[in-house]
Symmetry: C2
DNA sequence: ATGTCTTTGTGAACGCGTGCACAAAGATAG
DNA sequence: CTATCTTTGTGCACGCGTTCACAAAGACAT
């Protein structure tokens, strides 16, 4: 089953490190808030605090974009908002389709942050005929048969998958075949895509499990006292009943 | 405004690298699928393919847990499922509260993956009195006033925040004060928490912006041909109108 | 114009994560 | 019991990302 590349940008992004790119939206958000309060300039220290990062890291990040600060003063908020927006490609319009209009899909369609920052929901798509035509967030749901046509007619290059896990790869393949080159995947599956297609995944279940790990660790350390603890935390393992669910559909209509 | 630690585990997790912990749920999912198909053993190569990672990485990851494989054969699926579940703390029950029952909160409440793997939705909480008592996913919504009591009565240590951005920090503070030590944050804000509290964030808007960046990059490279491109992609910047929304609430009820 | 003070931009060191490549371990066949 | 073959477990090297610490740059006061 093909060891296809997964969820790592193929191209090394011409100089700007991936880690930096991932933080730019954070800076942008903080800067937008400042802009709304009509704050003219910020120091790296202040902005870093607002974005929840180290100030040295922030300065280095900005250094990849160019020298937009003034020594002794700080950064011009408006100018920086513009520069980051441009760098992220937010000065242009990005039509997006959402495939799979269950609970999660509907929530995404209603998401306010979509409309802002250049993203526009071009279409909602679902395989369930019962949903076809029904408006969600003011947009009528279209049937999956129309997928290819929708993509091409609207010049969509970004797709969001919020279908059950079982349908995700198939939907992904069709999106890619129709011309989509960036995918945001909410289904709990590993998607295989050709080179040149970016996949980012958001997986609630994984996030929770990571939290559980650290939570268990904390509980263990507390119980033992503070000394080095033996591989595993205290006792407490009840029995090995893992639920009979396996790869559950991400979020289902009912 | 205190430079509080954010979303990095304070403690260095006793030997197991964070990157490895983040992959364990992935392996677990692949293994569970194999288990359901009654596959007795897997090689690192097969499992790695299923999980979408490098086989060497997978073997190194497992080596942190101990030596659970058999050379010349591979790994025992059932045994590995158990070991990883135990390591992640999934053999015990984790009561979870969801605060903010808008579209997203409702979607999360309905999420099948919650119930599985030891996570149990102990309560749904919202500040809107109109929602109080109304069942969502079969669970009646409780009013935010009850938050502290709910946390304590159920021994909740993991909280999910799906409120608008404006309310997130306040909710977070109350959760932490009531004893929650792990938070999954869906609101588009930087949360400040005391040491010892873990925060993980899921931010749709950020993911999209990262995709947009790479998308723009691809478009630029394609247009130029293939050679080194001058800092920014081709022309195409329309004008600097950034939407007037700023920190939009994550996902709103209406 | 000169000096002081603030804040940026970055060189350099360090640590973590990744991937290669191979030796050790065990299964399996003869 | 010996030989062969498969697959694990890991030493090692490399590259990315983070952080420190400081020199350069500019604002501002005198």
């Amino acid at each position: 089953m093909a060891t296809g590349r997964t969820h790592r940008p193929a191209t090394r992004s011409r100089g700007i490190p991936e880690a930096t790119v991932a933080r730019l939206p954070l800076y942008l958000r903080a800067l937008t808030a400042l802009s709304e309060r009509s704050v003219p300039t910020v120091s790296s220290e202040e902005l870093a605090a607002a974005a929840g990062v180290n100030s040295a890291k922030l300065r280095k990040d900005f250094s990849y974009l160019g020298s937009y600060g003034t020594r002794g003063v700080g950064y011009d908020v408006e100018y920086l908002v513009y520069q980051i927006s441009r760098e992220l490609g937010l000065t242009q319009d990005w039509p997006v389709v959402i495939v799979g209009i269950g609970n999660l899909g509907a929530a995404l369609a209603n998401y306010g942050g979509f409309a802002s920052r250049g993203f526009r929901v071009a279409a909602l798509i679902d395989a369930d005929p019962a949903l076809t035509g029904k408006p969600v967030a003011g947009i009528p749901v279209q049937h999956a048969d129309e997928l290819e046509k929708i993509i091409r007619d609207n010049g969509v290059s970004i797709g969001v998958i919020s279908t059950p896990a079982g349908a995700a790869q198939q939907v992904c393949d069709r999106l890619v075949a129709a011309g989509v080159t960036s995918i945001l995947n909410f289904a709990p599956t590993v998607l295989t895509v050709p080179d040149g297609v970016d996949v980012r995944k958001v997986d609630l279940s994984i996030e929770l499990q990571i939290l559980a790990f650290h939570e268990q660790r904390k509980a263990g350390e507390e119980a033992v006292g503070k000394g080095p603890l033996p591989q595993t935390a205290a006792g407490r393992d009840e029995s090995a009943d893992q639920g009979p669910d396996g790869d559950v559909p991400a979020v289902m209509p009912a």
